[in-house]
């Protein structure tokens, strides 16, 4: 297991290098410098600014020094928020986004697994069709549509829940978590239904039935562990997708998280911030994929043997 994890970590290094290089080149090939969008700046001020951010050096030198900085964990200063470093900005948004992502995932797994398992217990009956049609609606209803509709209904018409902010009014975390989690709940429902159907037709489930175990024990103790493997495999990429979803949800609900910072940085052409967040996101995604692979190996005895054999 340790060797497996280490090997995967080593593989992640070239991937990260590719990400950094591609982003760096893209950002530096952008027409116009980061300061050219502002009001006309005197030439000497521009030069001083460029010198301050090392923009007067040749590209390869900037690249090398940026790589060195990233290895040391320093993403540089923000272009648009003078006096604040990218590290500070990322750190201040990360906690919020992580909390939002966690709640959304809890919503997604809770609703998704219950719906999927319920559907798999009586396939091709109403008990199957109703949750699966709901799941299809969840998949086809993008968060940028669901969010505003929820705001319209629960925030504005019924006035039950606050519609913006984070951690200011009690209950202001409910709508964002539901908005972000619904799409994933739908996918998880479909995945867990498929996984459970596969497992429920296995011999060891028949054995459990033959022993006269209750349906609750059969599902809860024997089937779930195998049936949820596809869900676990989905969780890693899902966390990566959650980051993308956080762009929308944090914009709709005005949550000061990483996603909103990124969108703002993209609008403001805050290049160091874009570069820094991209590298940071890539790292996160790779780590989550690794964790979900490890979890899948741990859950699936067949894979475990394969890993040991390597």
């Amino acid at each position: 297991m340790l060797r497996f994890a280490l090997g995967r970590l080593l593989q992640a290094i070239p991937v990260l290098l590719v990400v950094i290089t591609m982003t760096f080149l893209l950002v530096h090939s952008a027409p116009g410098g980061p300061f050219s969008a502002d009001k006309a700046v005197p030439a000497e001020v521009l030069e001083a600014l460029e010198a301050q951010y090392n923009l007067d050096q040749p590209l390869w030198q900037q690249y090398i020094s940026y790589l060195g900085d990233v290895v040391r964990g320093d993403m540089g200063p923000s272009f648009k928020y003078p006096g604040r470093s990218v590290n500070e900005l990322i750190l201040s948004g990360l906690g919020t986004t992580a909390e939002l992502g966690l709640y959304a995932m809890m919503v997604a797994v809770f609703i998704g697994v219950i719906a999927g398992v319920t559907a798999s217990m009586r396939p091709n009956t109403m008990q199957d069709y109703v949750p699966m049609t709901a799941a299809m609606i969840g998949i086809c209803m993008p968060s940028f549509l669901l969010g505003p509709l929820l705001v319209l209904v629960f925030g504005i018409h019924l006035e039950w829940l606050p519609v913006s902010g984070w951690n200011q009014i009690p209950g202001d975390k409910i709508l964002p978590a539901i908005t972000l989690g619904t799409g994933y709940a739908a996918y998880i429902a479909r995945l867990s239904r498929g996984g459970m159907l596969e497992v429920l037709s296995q011999d060891y489930i028949r054995t459990a039935r033959a022993k006269g175990l209750s349906e609750f024990l059969i599902i809860g103790k024997h089937a779930l562990r195998g049936g949820l493997i596809p869900v676990v495999a989905f969780l890693g990429p899902a966390f990566a997708g959650l980051l993308g979803g956080s762009f929308v949800v944090e914009t709709i609900y005005q949550i000061p998280g990483l996603g909103r910072f990124y969108v703002q940085a993209a609008f403001n052409r805050d290049y160091t911030m874009i570069l820094g967040t991209t590298v940071f996101f890539a790292t996160l995604i790779i780590v989550f994929n690794l964790l979900s692979d490890m979890l899948a190996v741990w859950l699936n005895p067949k894979l475990r043997q394969q890993v040991r054999g390597v």
Partner: protein, 293 residues
């Protein structure tokens, strides 16, 4: 496959495609999806002629009116007919869906087929590259591309297409790999058929099923991506519009004029619905494992 003499002895044989069509016809949801899709494509194609009002036509006395007999879906704050706007927006949304998917399809199929057919070290290197690309945060790259090179429609096609080909390449490669080792391909080899005939006659028709299914499922995800970008203000640029952009505008005024959000939302969701149901139906229909029950 061309064994008519044998077929006459038993029941009449059905090809994979006839079989699939028979199964698809029984799937009411998939058929509804197909019908809706054909309808939407027709409307989009004919929009310049059948749209009730001009694209930029404003009725300044009718700013933001709810649905009425004159304007079936109401008007926006500038007095423009919503139905017309949604029809024009749908053109862009569907175009992005189809063209970006076509780009992904072309790259993915060629890449996957080469990797799968050549095999060996070439395959290992090619698929390693796909693995690496999979790990990249692509959403962010598309946003980055749009920021760096400006929001333009052509770039959007290619940026999205360049992201979505990875899964296609994997599917095609897996399919080609397993086909290459099948007995009927070996038989064709031993009969002395040329490589090209084998590829054309046996490999391509047999990879088509999964490719079609995945294509139908890629179109909605591409459309969703475009709508997502446009919603954030990083996709389609006015005066062009798309459903994502219309939803974006709708959100700004949804408290006073909810229909400006709801109608484009329904248009987008219904289309995604249709495509997903059709894709699911095709998957069931083209999967030989579920055939002949």
């Amino acid at each position: 496959m061309d064994s008519n003499s044998l077929d006459t002895m038993a029941e009449k044989g059905t090809s994979l495609w006839e079989d699939a069509w028979i199964k698809l016809r029984k799937n009411r949801l998939a058929l509804m999806g197909l019908g809706l899709l054909i309808f939407l494509c027709l409307v989009s194609l004919l929009t310049p002629w059948i749209a009730p009002y001009g694209y930029e036509e404003q009725d300044l006395l009718m700013g933001a009116t709810p649905p009425s007999a004159e304007h079936w879906l109401g008007t926006d704050v500038f007095g423009r007919d919503m139905l017309t706007r949604i029809m024009w927006g749908g053109r862009v949304s569907l175009m992005v869906g189809f063209i970006a998917t076509a780009v992904a399809l072309a790259i993915g199929v060629i890449y996957g087929a080469v990797a799968g057919y050549v095999g060996g070290r070439v395959d290992a290197v090619m698929m390693r590259l796909v693995d690496i690309l999979y790990a990249l945060p692509f959403m962010i790259f598309i946003i980055l591309l749009m920021v760096v090179f400006g929001r333009n429609l052509l770039l959007l096609f290619f940026a999205i297409g360049a992201v979505e080909w990875l899964t296609m390449a994997r599917i095609v490669r897996g399919q080609v790999m397993s086909l290459r080792k099948q007995e009927f391909v070996e038989a064709a080899h031993s009969l002395g058929l040329s490589q090209w005939i084998i590829i054309r006659r046996h490999i391509i028709p047999n990879t088509l099923g999964p490719v079609i299914v995945y294509t139908t499922l890629t179109i909605p995800s591409v459309m969703l991506l475009e709508a997502f970008l446009s919603f954030l203000g990083l996709g389609i640029q006015p005066p062009q519009s798309s459903w994502g952009l219309l939803i974006n505008y709708g959100v700004e005024t949804m408290e006073e004029y909810p229909w400006l959000l709801i109608f484009p939302g329904i248009a987008l969701s219904l289309t995604l619905f249709a495509l997903n149901f059709l894709g699911d139906g095709l998957r069931d229909a083209l999967d030989p494992r579920t055939s002949k029950d």
